[in-house]
Amino acid sequence: MIPAEQTRIIVQHELEGALSWAERHGVRIDWLPNDLGLHATLLQPATNATFFLRGMFQDYRALPPEWTFTNERWETSGQAMDFPEGAQSSFGSPMFIMHNQKAVICAPFNRLAYSDLAGPHRDWGGPANWLNAGASQIHADTIGDMLQAIHRDFSFTRSRLAKP
């Protein structure tokens, strides 16, 4: 739907802010332009364990990215052992959940949260409606804002969704 080169231009522009955010928060970010993929390495404060957050940006921004935690080779998707266990915070319910035996980052800015891609939400009007979906929930519409949103809930976690 969106030419890859156009997506690359959009992502490169948004990465300026995201990279500054990452530097402030000690998060390593790698952008893989040929794959339209972004890798972010997060350190869980409570355990010092490393988590591997991957975003795939095909058709961005017509559709939101596909965000998931993976194994250390950046290969898997939706495995509970790769995910942090959601923890309650002052912001309410955590965004890291299980749905149909798969772990999901449940937020309007994640394509994998929509029922079109086997996610839990069929009430958000489909992924093309992502900029207006879940209006009362957490809102993030640039890469830096998405990373901040995920990192916000991640910082409250203290374990993994399942033992490796």
Binding site: E14, E16, G17, A18, L19, S20, W21, R24, G26, P45, G86, S89, S90, F91, G92, S93, P94, M95, I97, H99, C106, A107, P108, A113, P120, H121, G134, A135, S136, Q137, I138, H139, A140, T142, G144, D145, L147, Q148, A149, R152, D153, S155
Partner: protein
């Protein structure tokens, strides 16, 4: 730093200068706010300046871990000091199924 700001007359004693970062921008913005300003209002002003639309903006400190400021308190009540660096965040709730 405090003296430098005062010598340039950027604000009176009832105001503080705050440096705000946003996840979408590589550059921070500076704001002069009354100490009595609610955090929520300051966050909204900063969000607008950075081009945010919608959401529930809030502010957090720079530390590790950062401390999220209470939107219902004033900057003074949250002990925000002159030239403090804050980060704009969204305080919207998690997703319930």
């Amino acid at each position: 730093m405090h003296e430098e700001v005062e010598s340039h007359g950027h604000h009176d004693h009832h105001e503080i200068e705050v440096i705000v970062f946003a996840p979408r921008s590589p550059h921070p913005k500076e704001f002069n706010w009354p100490k009595t300003l609610k955090v929520e209002e300051a966050a909204k002003q900063a969000a607008t300046a950075f081009g945010y639309e919608g959401g529930k903006p809030g502010l957090q400190t720079e530390g590790h871990p950062p401390r999220v400021l209470d939107n219902n308190k004033t900057l003074a009540e949250e002990h925000v000091h002159n030239r403090e660096k804050l980060e704009l965040i969204d305080t919207g709730g998690g997703v319930q199924l």
